[in-house]
């Protein structure tokens, strides 16, 4: 039954692609839509265009840097907030207040501060990803199994030992969950900034292809970016699965 | 005949030929005359709950037939059979009273009869004061009483109960068991009651059908010759102890067999 569903799913995908091919060839305006066959050929050709590959690699680099900064900085901010009631009381409202800001509205400000190059894109990626790390780690630090804490106390652990031996290890699975969520945030932030800045990078090409009514190229570029996004998401998802295996109830 | 007649029922899950196919029940035959309380008891996975689903018309057997008052069961018969479930089957988004009214609406009871019947059922189980409560505000015992009220309001001649007290603590079970015995001495319903508890079976049943480990067959039917309502003193009587011991001997090997098959389903 399980394999059956997988087969039907592939069938559905094939059917949709065929439908797209047929409709695009039969009724589509060639200035607006391209059939998948043409898109595939164009996508491969795009990969041979050094300017496009450079833009893609630049985006990939921005994604990687933004992700690392978001995770490290997020952890650095989250640990004191998670471990100390005082810092949590003092700073959590500020963090939540910033988190509530629809970030896309301050994108022009980022460009003003960081310019049109990679720093803007990295910074925007960081601010989109960092909250996921901060909030999941804080939540996890507050939800450390009280039985474990009681057991450690009864064994005479000091506060320091408690943090090293009980609290930090129990944060690990949540950190990986935070990293997975951070990755989708970073992707959103970097891509938003890339699309906003139309003078260089991805944004330049999407605008150029749109203005030139070259749908196959636009489809191709978007497919490549989607592939990057899926690969990065899948990577963090695999990491999360791998490192949360010892947890008894992964659902919570 | 009057009552429930079970003829050669077999039940299996999974497709024929599939190695995961499980035969839960094999060739079960049993007659339950009107007004009798029969307990089905046996190790986990012996198909006693499957049999109850089949009597209720909620599942179709792979072989055999069930007739109620001579008529074959082909689907739910809400006018003649009501069901009390093992898990909490009250609708959590409705109050106790609205749960009972919903049951009456499903059954298709005349509109002007619904409220009086719901009131009567609430009184019968002693939950008048909790009519406006939501299920999650009730204790486990009260939830099962509310479920019983919902079933009683349907005023069916047959009541099927699938381990209704399984999730409750021992003392609550005893109280609810006594209450149930009083209830049915008043209403003379035909009841089929699935349980894991030896004491519960002896205390409540007129007859006890003992099932073997999977594939479940009816091994023996024991009679408990004791009028309803059963007094609390019956619980401590030598008669109950002796019957319980007999049951224990009948079930001991089957339970071990079931466990070794890994039959916790």
């Amino acid at each position: 039954m399980r394999g059956n569903a997988g087969a039907v799913r592939i069938g559905v995908i094939v059917l949709l692609v065929l439908l797209w091919e047929l409709l695009a060839r039969r009724f589509g305006n060639p200035l607006l839509v391209a059939p998948p066959s043409t898109t595939l050929v164009t996508t491969i050709a795009l990969l041979g265009d050094p300017q496009v590959t450079q833009a893609l690699l630049a985006a990939l680099r921005e994604l990687a840097i933004a992700f690392v900064i978001a995770v490290v900085a997020g952890l650095v901010i989250a640990l004191p907030l998670g471990l100390s009631t005082f810092w949590r009381g003092a700073l959590l409202p500020l963090v939540l207040g910033l988190y509530a800001v629809p970030q896309v509205t301050v994108l022009p400000l980022f460009v003003r501060i960081f310019g049109l190059g990679p720093p803007t894109k990295i910074a925007f990626g960081v601010t989109h990803g960092i909250f996921a790390v901060i909030l999941t780690v804080i939540a996890a630090a507050r939800a450390v199994d009280p039985h474990l804490l009681r057991a450690a106390t009864s064994l005479g652990a000091t506060r320091r030992q408690m943090i090293v031996a009980v609290v930090l290890p129990s944060l690990v699975p949540s950190l990986f969950t935070g990293m997975r969520l951070a990755m989708s945030g970073v992707l959103l932030g970097v891509l938003l900034a890339e699309l906003y800045v139309s003078t260089t990078g991805i944004g330049f090409f999407t605008q150029a292809f749109t203005n030139a009514f070259a749908p196959a190229k636009l489809f191709g570029l978007i497919l490549l970016l989607a592939a990057i996004a899926i690969a990065l998401n899948e990577l963090t998802r695999m990491a999360e699965r791998r490192f949360s295996r010892w947890r008894e109830n992964p659902a919570s | 005949m009057e009552g429930i007649s079970i003829r050669g029922i077999s039940q299996a899950f999974g497709a024929v030929g599939d190695e995961r196919r499980v035969v839960a029940l094999e060739d079960a035959t049993l007659d339950i005359p009107a007004g009798e309380l029969v307990c089905l008891i046996g190790p986990s996975g012996c198909g006693k709950s499957s049999l109850l689903d089949i009597i209720a018309g909620l599942a179709k057997p792979v072989a055999g037939s069930v007739t109620i008052d001579g008529e074959p069961v082909r689907g739910p018969l809400p006018k003649r059979v009501s069901f009390v479930f093992q898990e909490n089957a009250l609708f959590p988004w409705l109050t106790v009273y609205d749960n009972i009214l919903a049951g009456l609406a499903f059954q298709g009871a005349p509109k002007d009869e619904r409220r009086p019947r719901a009131d009567e059922a609430l009184t019968a189980v002693g939950l008048e004061a909790f009519r406006a409560h939501y299920p999650r505000q009730l204790s486990g015992g009260m939830k099962q009483r509310a479920q019983l009220a919902r079933a009683l309001a349907l005023q069916t001649e047959i009541l099927l109960m699938d381990e209704p007290f399984a999730a409750l603590d021992e003392q609550t079970r005893l109280v609810l068991g006594e209450d149930l015995s009083v209830q049915l001495s008043r209403t003379r319903k035909t009841i089929v009651f699935v349980t894991h508890s030896l004491v519960e079976a002896v205390f409540l049943a007129d007859r006890i059908a003992v099932f073997t480990a999977r594939p479940g067959r009816i091994k023996t039917v024991l009679s408990v010759d004791e009028p309803h309502p059963r007094a609390p003193s019956f619980m401590t009587s030598p008669k109950l102890a002796e019957l319980r011991n007999t049951l224990y001997e009948l079930l001991h090997d089957e339970a071990r067999k079931a466990m070794e098959m890994g039959a916790e389903v």
């Binding site: - | 739910p76 959590p92 939501y134």
Partner: protein, 243 residues
């Protein structure tokens, strides 16, 4: 203490601005933002912009909710369909929706329709996924109980499926509305000819940071209002869990 901290942040912001430590072109003083907010609210353009943004959101949400609920219900009722389509939709959801915006610009131009399309796409996924999850988790015991009492198909839907799925579906609708708002705002910021996002970019480009922040405050207020409104609706819908 929490109020103290937020107040402290404001004081630091104001002193930083008045002492010249903060570039007023990047972060204008809170007083200047407040003044600009007053001007902007009186000018009327903000209401037109807000109105356009909310109208785009309303249409986007209507499309997303209509299709998401229908498709989700159809899939969620069949365990097999869930196994076929749920991973497919969840996989598509992993692709950042914003990538579709250049396509929508190509198809629909820079006017409101491309924002509506982006908002609808963004809102569709949480709605359809939660509708599937909601109807897939309908308790079999509740269904069996209702069937044993003779419930017919409309009664099963009204008394069992709908209320059982409701808390999850409403959470998805809420998520869809909030994400849809962000998507509409994002689309307006990227490329548009009207709406709150458009005004923010215009103010940024015409070096009016105080006004830009005033518009941002309006956007935040709108987002918070949506959030409050929908969480209230969600709470109302789950009364039996908290009563």
């Amino acid at each position: 203490m929490q109020i103290g901290c937020v107040a402290l942040a404001f004081v630091a912001w104001q002193t930083g601005s008045s002492s010249g430590a903060l570039d007023p072109l990047i972060l204008p003083a809170p007083a200047a933002v407040a003044a600009a907010l007053g001007t902007v609210l009186r000018s009327g353009t903000v209401w037109a912009a807000l109105g356009l943004t909310l109208a785009e959101l309303a249409l986007a949400f209507a499309f997303a909710a209509g299709s998401g609920l229908l498709i989700g219900f159809a899939i969620g009722r069949s365990p097999f369909a869930v196994r076929v389509f749920d991973p497919l939709l969840a996989g598509l959801y992993a692709v950042p929706t914003i990538l579709l915006f250049p396509l929508y610009l190509l198809f629909f131009g820079i006017g409101p329709p491309s924002k509506i399309a982006l908002g609808a796409t963004m809102a569709f996924f949480p709605i359809v996924l939660s509708t599937i999850a909601g109807f897939a988790q309908v308790s079999r015991v509740h269904l069996a109980a209702a069937q044993s009492m003779g419930a017919n198909a409309p009664q099963l839907f009204r008394y069992v499926m709908f209320p059982d799925a409701f808390p999850i579906v409403i959470a998805g609708l809420r998520m869809g509305l909030v994400l849809g708002f962000l998507a509409v705002l994002g689309g307006e910021t990227l490329t548009s000819n009207g709406g709150l996002g458009h005004e923010i970019v215009t103010m940024a480009e015409s070096l009016e940071p105080a006004k830009m922040f005033a518009y941002i405050v309006v956007a935040i207020a709108a987002a918070s209002a949506l959030n409050l409104l929908t969480s209230y609706a969600e709470l109302r819908g789950r009364r039996h869990e908290t009563a």
